[in-house]
């Protein structure tokens, strides 16, 4: 075997074996069988440290660490957890490889090269903070607070995000978790039931699960997966609408192989069938909904036949699904989705899902949408301040209303980016990136590069190098979730049919930070002092922030630690519709704002001839791009094979395992390649890849160039008109094999 062993690689593999192990036998007391010193010890004898809250993704399972001689060997679920239990997913288990990733940021760095082509010079924290503070302050002094834009993501970004929004006073904050992910879901449900829905469906106790694009199993959040599997084990039927035979479709009773972009038409047809055939929940509609008449009228055109044609699925299958839902209502779980920024017509689809839940009477009932009653813990952060609408890019001063009335909190990304690039209506001159990688969250990378090039100053704070950190002037190393206090996780037992319990857990460090990494409260406070906001600093340390917050429920870090990291208390019965609950089937405010008041299907652009629609989703072993450099996770799924329909593949001469690149309909080519997965399990008009691969930053020595960055191929922009969020599935690609561009047959 050709094995190009390098010093670093050797140390990577050998370091765990810790060469200091004495070469003597250890005899097991229980079996008498001698155990070689060469054998890995196993973690059973290691010290258990409590208080871990995972952040390999954002579900935040509760952990314990297994620590040997100061080194974190393993992460396990906290046995006391009523959420994830002892379970940890692949990413959670691989947290130790993030912690000790040799490529992690270690020291403050200054870019002495160009943005995008950096040359890094190690500098002191004092120099780094002085430069960040003075540059940001001069932006504020010269142009105003609104001249700073912020791209935050994750628990560590919350405190600094509040600082820039509240104390500094810029509206120009764009969270990828809202504007490129779940924001549309939240505001569409707020516009329908006055609540963000989360993923709060009572799956273990339902009779039917209804998924539009949800691919649980590839999308892994532990307690959510536990609920899903428990539901199936209890006999629930599963309906999955997806152009692809996803992990969930493989467990489904009915797979609806829907044409991408037409989901709203499908849901409207189901609802219309229920209405026309008197199969909706009349009592619930009478008691708890508003606007039924207008709603019924608006969706009337959506006959089974019309939707069947539009969605490219059999009419009788739509009927079968509608009948199944009606027969089992109200104990049906209509999944609100999580990542929903798809086609730029998404607000209406999310409204349709909320309305479907309503006419089935599936709110607050067993097996329906049921928000478990968790404990309330007060957050501690920067004091809120009103900065008016003057510099709010999402405000139309002539009409005196928001441009995107159903925008999630923050400012729609495209408004910020366009303003930064054009300088209109005002200049944006500094950019703060905290834990987000806008290069691989926001479509059209060229525009993002243009944004950075228009800045006077760019600073990034992260744990790892990413594709965006290459654009920083100053790059600051942050402690990871395993080395700091911060997030307070709260919730209930995952199965609502079990004894009602609530829990509170606070993130505590499992090991000490290494190198010169600092936490967000330290970094942000030091910036605030230098920007003239020292008097507004709410807490001196991150520990104080957590302790103050816990004090609101008569807890403390010390107390939580004494309780093995999780405080458990009696819960409350979540079932029963609140008296003031109302489902706005027809929402007059939406109509007044100039958009359809009843859920409405808006068509999306069709494939140009010779192109396939590019769709993408989650890999179970990765959280988007964030985990790509993790040695264990990379090894588990080293690239993101592109799914190509088997008949299409045969026609264009592709076989399983071929290496291909891509070109999109705007002529943008992928810079890397991936392999082909030939399968009958995808429609002919689209291709599918896992999201987040193809990192371009060479400082990610494991993840760089692994697979294809599908975001690089998403150049055509779609903006959801009600919310201002991005739609990213209106891009089309051809495959390139051996330099030859292959037309996708129609």
């Amino acid at each position: 075997m050709a094995f190009n062993l390098t010093r670093r690689k050797f140390l990577q593999t050998a370091s765990l074996a810790a060469a200091s192990v004495p070469l003597s036998k250890v005899v097991s007391a229980s079996t008498g069988v001698s155990k070689s010193a060469l054998d890995a010890k196993g973690t059973a004898g290691d010290k258990t440290v409590v208080g871990g809250i995972c952040e390999m993704c954002f579900w935040r399972c509760q952990l314990v660490g297994k620590v040997r001689d100061g080194r974190l060997m393993k992460l396990e679920g906290n046995p006391k957890s009523i959420d994830n239990g002892t379970a940890v997913c692949a990413r959670g288990n691989a947290g130790v490889k993030l912690l000790y990733d040799v490529d992690r940021l270690k020291y403050p760095m200054k870019n002495v090269g160009k943005r995008g082509e950096p040359k890094w010079k190690r500098i002191s924290w004092k120099e780094a903070l002085d430069e960040c503070g003075s540059r940001l302050k001069s932006t504020v002094d010269q142009y105003g607070a609104h001249a700073i834009c912020v791209f935050p993501h994750g628990a560590s970004a919350k405190y600094p995000m509040h600082y820039f929004e509240r104390a500094v006073g810029t509206h120009n904050v764009s969270e990828s978790s809202f504007f490129q992910c779940r924001g549309i879901r939240d505001t569409a449900y707020v516009a329908t039931i006055n609540k963000a829905p989360g993923e709060k469906i009572d799956m273990p106790n339902t009779k039917v699960l209804f998924f539009i694009g949800d691919h649980l199993g590839e999308n892994v959040h532990i307690s959510h997966i536990k609920q899903y599997i428990q539901g199936l084990q209890n006999g629930a039927k599963l309906i999955v609408a997806d152009p692809r035979f996803s992990a969930s479709a493989a467990k489904a009773d009915i797979w609806v192989q829907i044409k991408p972009g037409t989901d709203t038409a499908y849901i409207l047809a189901i609802m219309n069938y229920l209405v026309q055939n008197n199969k909706y929940d009349k009592e619930f509609v009478e008691d708890y909904t508003d606007g039924f008449e207008e709603f019924a009228k608006a969706i009337k055109e959506w006959t089974l036949e019309k939707a069947a044609k539009e969605c490219d699925i059999p009419a009788k299958q739509i009927k079968e699904v509608a009948e199944m839902l009606a027969a089992n209502a109200p104990n049906v779980a209509i999944h609100p989705g999580r990542y929903v920024s798809w086609h730029g017509n998404d607000f209406q689809r999310q409204r349709a899902l909320a309305c479907l839940t309503g006419i089935l009477g599936a709110y607050y009932v067993k097996g329906g949408w049921v928000p478990a009653k968790g404990p309330k813990v007060k957050g501690v952060s920067w004091a809120k301040e009103d900065h008016g609408h003057k510099y709010d890019l999402n405000y139309d001063h002539q009409e005196d209303e928001n441009i995107y009335p159903y925008s999630p909190p923050g400012t729609p990304t495209e408004l910020i980016r366009d303003c930064a690039i054009s300088g209109k209506p005002y200049p944006i001159k500094s950019c703060v990136v905290w834990g987000q990688n806008p290069m691989q969250t926001i479509p059209n990378q060229q525009k993002t590069k243009d944004l950075f090039n228009a800045m006077d100053f760019v600073m990034c704070v992260d744990v790892m190098p990413t594709d965006v950190t290459a654009w920083a002037d100053i790059l600051l190393p942050e402690v990871s979730y395993l080395e700091r206090y911060d997030y307070i996780k709260k919730g209930t037992q995952w199965d609502l049919s079990q004894e009602h319990q609530q829990y509170i857990a606070a993130r505590m460090p499992l090991v000490d930070p290494m190198f010169e990494r600092k936490d967000q409260v330290y970094i942000c406070n030091e910036l605030a002092k230098r920007m003239g906001h020292g008097d507004k600093i709410p807490v001196k340390t991150i520990e104080e922030m957590v302790d103050k917050s816990l004090a609101s429920v008569d807890l403390s870090i010390e107390q939580l630690r004494a309780e093995d990291g999780i405080h458990i208390m009696p819960g409350k019965d979540p079932y029963g519709v609140p008296e003031d609950f109302e489902v706005l089937l027809y929402n007059e405010d939406i109509e007044d704002a100039g958009y359809p008041g009843a859920p409405t299907y808006v068509t999306v652009p069709d494939n140009p001839k010779g192109f396939a629609r590019l769709i993408y989703g989650r890999a179970p072993v990765h959280s988007f791009n964030r985990s790509q450099n993790n040695v264990w996770l990379h090894n588990a799924m080293p690239d993101n094979p592109v799914w190509v329909n088997d008949e299409v593949a045969a026609q264009i001469g592709l076989i399983d395992g071929d290496t291909v690149g891509f070109v999109n309909s705007e002529g943008v080519e992928s810079t890397t390649t991936t392999t082909v997965k030939v399968t009958a399990g995808i429609r002919k008009d689209c291709v599918y890849m896992y999201h987040g691969y193809g990192s371009a930053n060479p400082l990610l020595t494991t993840g760089v160039g692994a697979g294809v960055d599908e975001t690089s191929l998403i150049t055509k922009l779609a903006v959801d008109p009600e919310t201002g969020c991005n739609g990213m599935r209106n891009n089309f690609v051809k495959l390139i094999k051996n330099g030859k561009v292959l037309d996708i047959p129609a």
Binding site: L5, S28, V33, L38, A40, G77, N93, V220, A249, W632
Partner: protein, 268 residues
């Protein structure tokens, strides 16, 4: 007693938690593995569109073909039953099937790292771990031990502990009341070889279509024992030389020298 593991494919979502937990627990270096998850399909089968997973690991077979091939010198070893305290002495090479719990284990000190056992395993469940090299080998055979050191202490295997859907069930197949035995009664099956009966004790349970796809794709054949035996013979021939090296060398020193001498071409 015969330990066994059931993997319930109705519960499994293919998330890889089991494989990564195993890496952490037993310090299994990339790219090697003690267990794996392969995704099967989606593909059209007689039962319609199908996709499932092959979460694989050592089968701790009733008649493990790997054990017979070990060329290491056989020595007397006394085994003690972790539960009853009974003992039994038998002649074993560097790998054996435990007389009490039925698991297949390896003595890393006497393993020559020749790879004959790995070649003999029809499931590819063994590999040579270079991180366990010493002065008589370039690494040691390694594989799933059913987490014996944990199980002997009353803990569950690491993969079972971490499984997010309780799709992995561990227990005694000889105990008719155990959860694993209940699964066998319901139809759980091991991936028995096409051309023999070795009795795999890691078993799968699932929907008909998923089981059909798994068994169609991953039912193995016995290895070509001719080539396995040649490798084992070669290993036993060089054994005396390795023994000699053992008396001189110390791993720590050799390791340190090796690291010093390695190129630094990936440090940027």
């Amino acid at each position: 007693m015969q330990y066994g593991m059931i993997i319930d494919l109705e519960r499994c979502v293919g998330c890889h938690a089991c494989t990564i937990a195993c890496r952490a627990e037993w310090e299994v270096p990339v790219p090697y593995q003690r267990n794996w998850v392969k995704r099967l399909g989606p593909t059209m089968t007689d039962y319609g569109m199908t996709a499932t997973y092959y979460p694989g690991l050592c089968n701790h077979c009733d008649k493990p073909p790997c054990v017979d091939e070990c060329p290491a010198e056989a020595v007397d070893m006394t085994f003690t039953d972790a539960k009853s305290g009974k003992t039994k002495t038998m002649k074993v090479t560097a790998t054996w099937k435990d007389p009490f719990d039925g698991t297949v284990q390896i003595d890393k000190d006497r393993c020559l790292g020749c790879g004959a056992c790995a070649d003999a395993c029809p499931y590819g469940a063994r590999y040579i771990n270079p991180a366990q090299a010493d002065d008589i080998s370039e690494g040691k055979a390694d594989k799933c031990s059913y987490c014996k050191p944990r199980v002997d202490q009353g803990l569950v295997p690491a993969c079972v502990l971490t499984c997010i859907t309780d799709a992995r069930i561990f227990g005694d197949l000889d105990d008719p009341k155990s959860a694993v035995s209940q699964y066998v009664k319901k139809g759980a099956k091991g991936l028995e070889v096409k051309d023999g009966h070795i009795g795999p004790n890691s078993m799968y349970f699932g929907k008909k279509k998923d089981m059909a796809l798994l068994f169609a794709d991953y039912t193995p054949k016995l290895a070509d024992m001719g080539s396995v035996k040649r490798r084992a013979m070669m290993a036993s021939m060089v054994k005396p030389a390795m023994r000699k090296a053992k008396e001189i060398g110390v791993l720590g020193l050799a390791g340190a020298m090796l690291v010093k001498g390695l190129p630094e071409n990936d440090e940027k």
